[in-house]
């Protein structure tokens, strides 16, 4: 009975004040719990952390905590290790994301097509993603180890290397060790997200396009890609930022070595914070990283909006 009553009121547009208030506050109620937590556990410590960048904060020094202005940034400007870490971060994030995305998209398209045993195949190819990140780091370090791992011997047999050596101790190539581990580990993330987006595309569209004589490539370009574009944009944006900050694999596999050749900015921050316990300097590096990542993200958001406007 009450349902019928409220429905007639809805149609006539005469709701009591209280109900209108409840309706106006509804979205806020839905968002509030998540929002409060984010502010308390991320925003407040972030502001606190920002202040560390301008202070002398060393964990083991009880006399630290004083304001030092831009001192940390002056040291940072002439820090050679930091400059190298910046360059390494570009390679690390760029290579990891583009390879993960490419193989992830291919995998999503392969799995979007029905076939016998698809459920099992899907479970198996997505499995690496269930592997804890640092465990996959250990696992790959083991695989690259010529004493017990198979990879150096395979590379040698294929003539790729002149001797079965450890990729991780080769200064010019070491960065590719963590990248390979990262790609292996991260492909399922892109595949799952893209597959979900693919399956949300109404099948009727493909049928209609087929009837109109569109071939597979045309269907991909004019239906699949435009539908996926927003998902791709936001996934790549979030993932690039995430991977640029992702130090677990590098810490586990190379610890930044040999000779800082695999040090990325995030692992450099980690080194400063946990080895030297210098939270002030670490926070200053983090601020620089933050500014760079925000600039990047802004560019992607603008790109996404222009994509959406066109679609």
């Amino acid at each position: 009975m009450s349902l019928v009553a409220s429905s007639s009121r809805h149609i006539s547009g005469q709701r009591p004040l209280l109900q209108r208030l409840a309706m106006a506050s509804e979205p806020y109620l839905y968002v509030a719990p998540a929002l409060i937590l984010i502010v308390a556990v991320m925003l407040v410590p972030l502001v606190l952390g920002l202040s560390y960048a301008f202070r002398d904060v060393r964990l083991l020094n009880p006399f630290s905590g004083g304001f030092v202005g831009l001192d940390h940034f002056r040291v940072l400007a002439s820090d050679v290790a930091f400059a190298r870490a910046l360059k390494n971060t570009l390679l690390w994030a760029g290579a990891s994301v583009s390879l993960q995305f490419t193989f992830g998209l291919i995998l999503a398209l392969l799995l979007d097509r029905p076939f016998r045993g698809r459920a099992i195949a899907q479970a198996l190819v997505f499995l690496p993603w269930a592997v804890p990140s640092f465990l996959s780091g250990l696992n790959w370090a083991w695989m690259f180890n010529p004493v017990v791992g198979p990879l150096p011997h395979w590379a040698f047999a294929l003539g790729l290397t002149s001797a079965p050596t450890n990729l991780l101790s080769d200064p010019t190539m070491a960065m590719w060790g963590p990248i390979i581990a990262n790609v292996w580990w991260g492909i399922p993330f892109f595949a799952i997200t893209l597959l979900a987006a693919l399956q949300a595309i109404p099948r009727d569209l493909y049928e209609a396009a087929s009837i109109d004589g569109a071939n597979a490539v045309q269907r991909f370009l004019s239906i699949t890609l435009p539908f996926l574009a927003p998902t791709i944009a936001i996934t790549v944006l979030l993932r690039t930022v995430w991977i640029a900050n992702f130090a677990d694999l590098i810490i586990v596999m190379t610890n930044g070595g040999p000779a800082d050749r695999t040090q990325i900015v995030a692992s450099y921050i980690f080194t400063q914070a946990f080895r030297r316990l210098d939270f002030g300097y670490a926070s200053a590096i983090a601020v620089v990283l933050l500014v760079l990542l925000m600039t990047y993200s802004l560019l992607i958001v603008l790109l996404r909006q222009s994509l959406l406007r066109r679609a």
């Binding site: 972030l46 964990l59 269930a130 292996w184 979900a196």
Partner: protein, 277 residues
């Protein structure tokens, strides 16, 4: 035409098999090392299967280490985090998908911001904030931190799932007299089950793998999660890879089981059927 179809099928299956092989080989290797006796580990390192296998690494890890406790701690932390995050992300994601309201832009901007800054930055301030509250060395403290870290991405994920469901579904229900919350619960949520499963899976795995904050916030063995435990295990027993990998295989089990359970939801179409039916 028929020939092309067969060729395309063969290429498709070959590609799938290749993906499976690449995905599984390192895990196979992990398993292989964990059952290789120590005396064969270095002499038969590159063989695909050792000439003799044994479970002594597993027995050692189960009987002479704190690993069972680390395992339970990780299970509690990851499970609680996954459930809480999914509930919060479902409501928040729904609001972002369906409502236009004042401040929405800023909320989205804030959530995007949280995805951008290096979490390493938060280690010290969070430690200093949680310490006086007695939330360091506590699983509760870890859950609070993990929930906050995972909510923004999970919200965007849920929002994209809600965006894929036609608005007309709950509009129809509301014209029929249901409140929006009831329409959300009874019509939209069941349709989003694959999305909810995916979110649960993402968050559980993320919490299960987290290393940095667990290391910083937990120092006692009693409250150690699996990653912290494994790292202390590594330092305590030098570099005994056999035992380490045995421990690793055991830690893989819940993550993989959980994953295999939810993966069937990923197979289902998200809106197919709902709109047509």
């Amino acid at each position: 035409m028929r020939k092309r179809q067969i060729a395309s099928t063969v290429a498709h299956r070959t590609a799938i098999v290749l993906y499976i092989a690449v995905a599984l080989f390192p895990l196979y290797w992990l398993l292989k090392v964990s059952v290789t006796p120590n005396d064969l580990l270095y002499t038969e390192g590159v063989r695909l299967w050792p000439s003799r296998t044994g479970f002594e690494h597993y027995i050692f890890v189960l009987k002479h280490s704190d690993f069972p406790r680390f395992f339970a701690n990780s299970l509690i932390v990851s499970g609680a985090t996954a459930i809480i995050v999914t509930v919060l992300a479902a409501t928040a994601g729904y609001a972002l998908s369906r409502f236009t309201f004042r401040g929405k832009y800023w909320i989205v901007a804030l959530m995007l911001l949280t995805q951008m800054f290096p979490l390493v930055m938060l280690v010290a301030p969070i430690f200093k904030m949680l310490s006086p509250l007695g939330l360091t060395n506590s699983l509760t403290g870890l859950v609070i931190v993990y929930v906050a870290f995972n909510v923004p991405f999970a919200t965007f994920l849920m929002q994209s799932f809600f965006d894929g469901i036609p608005k007309e579904l709950e509009e129809a229900a509301m014209i029929d007299g249901a409140t929006r919350f009831r329409a959300f619960r009874q019509i939209i949520l069941p349709l989003t089950l694959p999305g909810i499963a995916a979110t649960l899976g993402f968050v559980f795995t993320a919490a299960w793998s987290e290393l940095l904050f667990a290391l910083m916030l937990i120092s006692s063995t009693a409250a150690s999660t699996f990653p912290v435990g494994l790292l202390s295990f590594v330092s305590k027993f030098s570099v005994d890879f056999g035992q380490m990998m045995a421990a690793g295989v055991m830690a893989l089990i819940p993550a993989c089981l959980f994953f295999l359970l939810i993966q069937r939801y990923l197979v289902q179409g998200l809106t197919a059927g709902a709109v047509k039916g």
